[in-house]
């Protein structure tokens, strides 16, 4: 209704505004928030539809409805009731968040003084709201581009609010593209202060430079928060989350002291596992509070990981790895913390490799890698499935990032890790089996698929591994491992690891016959993707003119080639799976199969569908095609789609398949399949039917969840 002026007038004149204002205090937070939103809409509509000239602070210029609302806002801001003030602040926050018109500034001028005064009052709840309000204003060009007064208010807020309240404001300010540099520095100070305190608390005076210049920081509040059990972890977690957000920005508007920041993160992590017991009273208090605090550990490790992408903190890399390895080794590390440690370690290992390429840190790298694999060996045998799984995921990430590095390959292959990984293919936990499949699949890239494979013993037997994975694909009772196998096979095929065309044909054919009856539609979908890759590679190799990489060939050779490709596809029994999938009861499978067939059709009929392919006559082949068309029209209701040729369609005969590709209305099928499955359900008629049918039965059904 708030797009129509008459509705607005009705509400305003009938006392509606009073009701809506009262509803802002409704016990239901949904109602309260909707009331607030409604007032914002009313105010915006009223101002924007009823004024023609720029507004001034004088009341007489504003439309009546807007005046009423503004008056109410001003009154409640001046009232002594905290909840009224809170409601008005909420309203202003969402107004400035949604409306960026210049009149909002005029409105602001009327309430600015009052709101400024809240900053210095000790009303905790309100101050939290002020940070939100200022942040929304900072995003609005109306306020952002003004000189002076607004930014002075922000600076004052950053000073007056407690570190916990000021944090979100500070990080929001730092994300702004346009903002005065001194405000940015002030905001950064807010974020860095807790980290600075940690650093100072842990070190002897003057041992390291702090993060902040002492003259700009007033650490008393932060120190008291950090030394209290109830607020320490909260403040640190919040600050760390904000720092991570900041580091995720591609372009930082301020310089961060990376080395000191990393040192302070390491200090926190050392506090948490009890490696550091500083002499200073503050330090020992904080270390007592933080010991075994998983929350802080997780947040700190996230920031450590994010820092790996920033140059400038490399001097500490040695001691950082000592710390990370200590975490990886410690039996006290919880599974969730361990996972974060793995993430941070993998990122820093990549950084380490970059560094060792540019200078001579080879030995250090080798030692670190050795240590990492030693720990990984232990972790792969953990009784806790979460740990085994995270370890495998870590291994996969490492292989993905570092498989081109000699040092890495050698350290990995000389460790027990590959053998243990293969053992985990038989893990009782399906998640772990799936991760093991992925890891083994990637390991293959550096063992037998590697062009200059390092000396490997008998244990890396390609046939063995492929057979094992195929066994998982055909027998594993859970979907995850089977899905993992099919996606590894796709990856291998894409990277050309499956050998010559003939071998690949046999491989694909075997896999397809395994997956076509799989109960998990995602496995079947994987099978179709495998076919897609195989088809494009085969056509590419045999050189159809459509392939941009193939040498241009004459019409004669090309026709021979498609024959060859088609023969390959028929031999591999792809078509029976593709056509059967068109009737699959899971829609994504049908869609994918249709896409693949359409692709093939465009390859084999580059110009248009051949004349006469629609009516193939009364021949056996023609009857077969007609049967196929009928069956496909039934869609997923087609019972037991026979693919054995008993209906006159030989799915392994190239001629038959060429005709089928031309005759079946794939485009039409494609459109049908792509319609949302609940398009019928969503139609008004169906809705009416649902409603009518549901009357009477609904009550019992609704009440009964299981």
């Amino acid at each position: 209704m708030m797009h129509h002026q008459p509705a607005l007038h009705l509400l305003c004149s009938g006392g509606g505004i009073d009701v809506i204002f009262t509803l802002q205090g409704d016990p239901s937070l949904f109602v309260a928030s909707a009331a607030s939103q409604l007032l914002v809409h009313m105010l915006t509509l009223s101002v924007e539809s009823e004024t023609t000239k720029p507004l001034s602070t004088k009341d007489c210029d504003w439309p009546a409805c807007a005046q009423m609302i503004i008056k109410r806002i001003e009154d409640s801001l001046q009232s002594s009731s905290a909840s009224h003030i809170e409601q008005s602040l909420k309203l202003l926050t969402s107004l400035f968040g949604s409306c960026r018109a210049t009149w909002t500034e005029v409105l602001w001028l009327g309430v600015a003084k009052q709101i400024e005064s809240f900053l210095t009052e000790e009303t905790v709840q309100l101050q939290h709201m002020l940070a939100n309000l200022l942040l929304n204003m900072a995003w609005s060009p109306v306020f952002r581009d003004t000189e002076g007064s607004f930014w002075a208010l922000v600076t004052s807020a950053l000073e007056h609010l407690t570190p916990v309240q000021a944090g979100p404001l500070a990080v929001g300010i730092l994300r702004l593209y346009k903002c005065p540099q001194d405000v940015r520095i002030q905001a950064l100070t807010v974020l860095l202060q807790p980290m600075d305190c940690i650093l100072r608390a842990a070190s002897q005076p003057l041992e390291y430079a702090g993060l902040l210049d002492e003259s700009v920081s007033d650490p008393i509040t932060v120190e008291s928060l950090l030394s209290s059990r109830s607020s320490c972890a909260n403040l640190l977690c919040q600050t760390l989350a904000h720092l991570e957000q900041l580091l995720s920005l591609s372009r930082l508007p301020v310089d961060l002291p990376y080395t000191s920041l990393l040192r302070s993160l390491m200090t926190i992590l050392q506090f948490c596992n009890g490696f550091l017991s500083p002499a200073s009273p503050l330090g020992s208090t904080i270390s007592r509070i933080l010991i075994n605090c998983f929350r802080v550990q997780r947040s700190a490790l996230d920031v450590v990981a994010a820092l790996s992408e920033r140059k400038g903190s490399d001097t500490l890399i040695g001691s950082l790895f000592d710390l990370l390895l200590a975490y990886l080794e410690s039996p006290n590390t919880s599974p969730t913390v361990l996972k974060k440690t793995f993430q941070a370690t993998s990122k820093w290992l990549v950084r380490l490799q970059e560094l060792s390429c540019s200078n001579s840190q080879g030995q250090q790298t080798e030692k670190i890698l050795e240590d990492v694999f030693l720990v990984l060996q232990k972790r792969l045998c953990s009784p806790c499935w979460e740990v085994r799984d995270s370890s495998l995921e870590f291994l996969t990430v490492l292989i993905k990032c570092l498989r081109d590095q000699d040092e890495f390959r050698q350290s990995l292959l000389s460790s027990e890790v590959p053998r243990l990984t293969e053992n985990l293919l038989e893990d009782p936990e399906s998640y772990v089996r799936a991760s093991a499949v992925t890891a083994v699949g990637h390991l293959a890239f550096i063992t037998y698929f590697a062009p200059e494979s390092p000396v490997v013993g008998n244990q890396y037997n390609k046939e063995n591994t492929v057979a094992k994975l195929q066994e998982i694909l055909s027998t594993d009772p859970e979907g995850f491992p089977r899905r993992a196998v099919i996606s590894i096979f796709i990856k291998w095929l894409r990277q050309g690891c499956t050998g010559q065309l003939e071998d690949t044909e046999q491989f694909v054919s075997r896999v397809i016959q395994t997956v076509e009856h799989d109960l998990d539609w995602e496995v079947r979908l994987g099978g179709l993707e495998l076919i897609e890759v195989f088809c494009s590679q085969t056509i590419c190799q045999l050189g159809l003119p459509q392939c941009p990489y193939a040498p241009v060939s004459s019409a004669v050779t090309s026709s021979i080639h498609w024959n060859e490709s088609l023969q390959v596809f028929c031999r591999a029994k792809l078509f029976s799976f593709l056509f059967r999938s068109l009737c699959d009861c899971d829609k994504p499978v049908g869609q994918r199969a249709c896409d693949v067939l359409l692709g093939l059709k465009s390859d084999f009929y580059p110009v248009s569908t051949p004349e006469g392919s629609q009516g193939t006559g009364d021949s056996a082949v023609g009857q077969g095609i007609a049967w196929l068309q009928r069956t496909l029209r039934q869609g997923s209701l087609a019972q037991n789609f026979p693919t054995d040729g008993s209906n006159g369609v030989d799915f392994q005969d190239p001629e038959n398949m060429m005709l089928a590709l031309g005759a079946v209305e794939l485009e039409e099928l494609h459109d049908e399949l792509n319609r949302s499955s609940d398009h019928v359900e969503k139609s008004p008629q169906s809705l009416l039917q649902d409603i009518l049918a549901t009357v009477g039965t609904i009550e019992e059904n609704e009440a009964d969840c299981y």
Partner: protein, 583 residues
């Protein structure tokens, strides 16, 4: 008095439990209402999942992997094992059938499950410094638990879904007399005193039997775990007793899976199953065989349990398609179906279904809905309240009208307040927590020196200074408090002027007052000082003549805060005037 941090911890936690529900109907809850744009992890101390049903855990991966909650998640061991299967199923329906793309992935489900801390029954888990939780058996489904959440001496019990009567494979919910400040109970069957379970079971058996007798086929779509086992045990016993020959099948693969979980969590089943387990696994059936897809075309009667339970995909849907056209056949839906699924459509009476936008399927087979869900009925809810003895009750997970009726009953019978807030509504509940306070040895010694020895049965009033620091409370002597906090002492004195009619000289008036007080206050030290003032303990009395009326003397009485009682007694005494006889 309430510790603010502790209260927040409690409330946010309960809130989260409530918000995770109902994700199925409305997709996902809008969590920004609780965070107010902040980070979820800053607002919540932990998340507790009571059991694996989707209306209790369906939004969990969204919550932890997409909204960004990074704190601990607690559930029982069976729930942790079974939850991902359901979530995976839920993801598949949504992504496959509805074409939803912005949904959690399998990887997210796994990552979420890795954050879960599994708990044992009756194990007290310390979430953080202040917060502890404890799980109690809830019946309902395998692994369902009620949770007691405790901060200091305040506690809340959140029941999740529970069942107070044992069934064929699960026991009844049980909780000790933990007297929580608040019991949050589900109230699905708030007014129903459920017709005897026997009745429903007989009904079910009768329908299955009749269909089989006339040569029809019965399809029972189920979720692999839960009610399916209950119904299997029921049919198995019936077949045995009636010596029936028609085959019963259960979806392939799933029997093994279900068996696996029941074997693994045998302690969660009821006593009978546990006892017989030593000789025989109750879930390995004589009459129920594994199903093969080719069996569906076999002629003659049969009963098939097939998954999934809402007929949205897979084997149950395939069989349904084959059998739907024959009026001799029957489908029995034993549970709730989500909107948009074939199950929901046929339950709401649709007889013509459009399958995947391709063909119309006419449903001629009989469609039956039989609820076998295991929720506590009104009697059960009352029984739980009697067991736990809460100080307040809050009803959720039910319909307003029915809840209102139950609320009145609870208030009448137990004389406790009962609330039933709507979703998003705030309820304030007052508690009377006892707050432990440490007392300094010095103060204790001093108190015992002047009074009797402490007696457990008689509460004793003690005076001292309360120092509240770092969430700890200590009572010390005022002197020690001043010393510790580095404060200087300020004396607070009260003064009062009393007018007395006395024409004599001032020093004579003073003397009269002195004698009078000495006579009345025999146990106190009353002194007449050389400067003409009188002291009684710390109380000082001085007399001056009234500036305008020499016949009136003004007595200035001043006393310290500590002697407040004596001071006010003295002023009231002086206000009465001096006795005539004193001279």
């Amino acid at each position: 008095m309430v510790l603010p941090a502790a209260l927040t911890a409690l409330l946010t936690l309960v809130l989260s439990a409530a918000l995770l529900q109902f994700c199925l109907k409305r997709r996902f809850p809008d969590f920004s209402y609780i965070t107010q744009n902040g980070r979820l992890t800053d607002f919540l101390d932990c998340v507790i999942i009571s059991h694996f049903h989707l209306d209790h855990c369906g939004a969990l991966p969204y919550f932890s992997e997409m909204v960004g909650y990074d704190g601990p998640i607690y559930m029982t061991h069976p729930t942790k094992a079974i939850c991902p299967i359901l979530l995976e199923d839920y993801r598949k329906i949504t992504v496959d059938k509805k074409g939803e793309t912005n949904f959690f992935t399998s990887q997210m489900i796994k990552d979420c499950m890795k954050k879960v801390v599994a708990v044992h029954l009756h194990q007290t888990v310390q979430v953080d410094e202040e917060l502890e939780i404890k799980a109690y058996y809830a019946g309902h489904v395998l692994g369902a638990a009620m949770f007691q959440i405790k901060v200091g001496c305040e506690s809340v019990v959140y029941t999740g879904d529970y069942n107070m009567t044992p069934d064929r494979h699960l026991g009844a919910a049980w909780i000790d007399k933990c007297r929580p400040d608040l019991l949050i109970s589900e109230s699905t069957y708030a007014t129903t005193i459920r017709d005897s379970k026997r009745c429903r079971e007989r009904d079910f058996l009768k329908k299955v039997h009749e269909t089989v007798e006339r040569g029809g086929k019965v399809l029972i779509p189920v979720f692999a775990l839960g009610r399916a086992q209950e119904l299997c045990i029921l049919l198995e016993t019936f077949w045995e007793r009636m010596n029936l020959k028609a085959p019963i099948y259960f979806s392939t693969g799933l029997t093994e899976k279900a068996n696996h979980y029941y074997k693994l969590f045998i302690t969660w089943t009821n006593q009978k199953i546990r006892k017989t387990f030593v000789q025989r696994n109750m879930f390995e059936f004589k009459h129920i065989k594994a199903f093969d897809r080719a069996f569906a075309d076999n002629p003659g009667p049969m009963v098939v349990f097939a998954t999934p339970g809402m007929l949205h995909a897979g084997q149950s849907l395939q069989i349904f398609r084959k059998w739907a056209g024959n009026e001799k056949n029957m489908v029995i839906m034993p549970g709730y179906c989500v909107q948009g699924t074939v199950g929901h459509k046929i339950l709401s009476g649709q007889r013509k279904l459009e399958m995947e936008g391709r063909q119309i399927l006419e449903v001629k087979m009989q469609v039956e809905y039989m609820s076998f869900s295991a929720h506590a009925d009104a009697k059960g809810i009352m029984q739980l309240i009697r067991q736990a003895e809460p100080r307040n009750v809050l009803l959720v997970h039910g319909e307003a009208k029915k809840m209102e009726f139950l609320k009145q009953k609870i208030e009448q019978e137990f004389h406790v307040s009962c609330y039933m807030p709507a979703n998003g509504e705030t309820t304030t509940i007052f508690t009377n927590p006892s707050i432990p306070v440490d007392i300094s040895l010095g103060l204790l010694k001093r108190e015992t020196a002047i009074g009797l020895l402490p007696d457990v049965k008689k509460p004793k009033l003690m005076h001292g200074t309360l120092i509240m620091k770092d969430n700890s409370f200590r009572l010390v002597s005022p002197e020690q408090a001043l010393k510790e906090l580095g404060l200087a002492e300020h004396q607070l004195r009260f003064t009062c002027r009393v007018h007395i009619q006395d024409p004599r000289k001032e020093h004579e008036t003073v003397l009269r007052v002195y004698n009078h007080l000495k006579g009345v206050l025999k146990d106190y030290s009353v002194q007449h000082l050389p400067d003409g003032s009188i002291t009684v303990e710390s109380i000082l009395i001085q007399a001056t003549a009234h500036s305008e009326d020499q016949g009136t003397k003004v007595l200035l009485v001043s006393w310290t805060y500590q002697d407040e009682e004596l001071g006010s007694y003295l002023t009231s005494l002086l206000k009465k005037g001096l006795p005539q006889s004193t001279s």
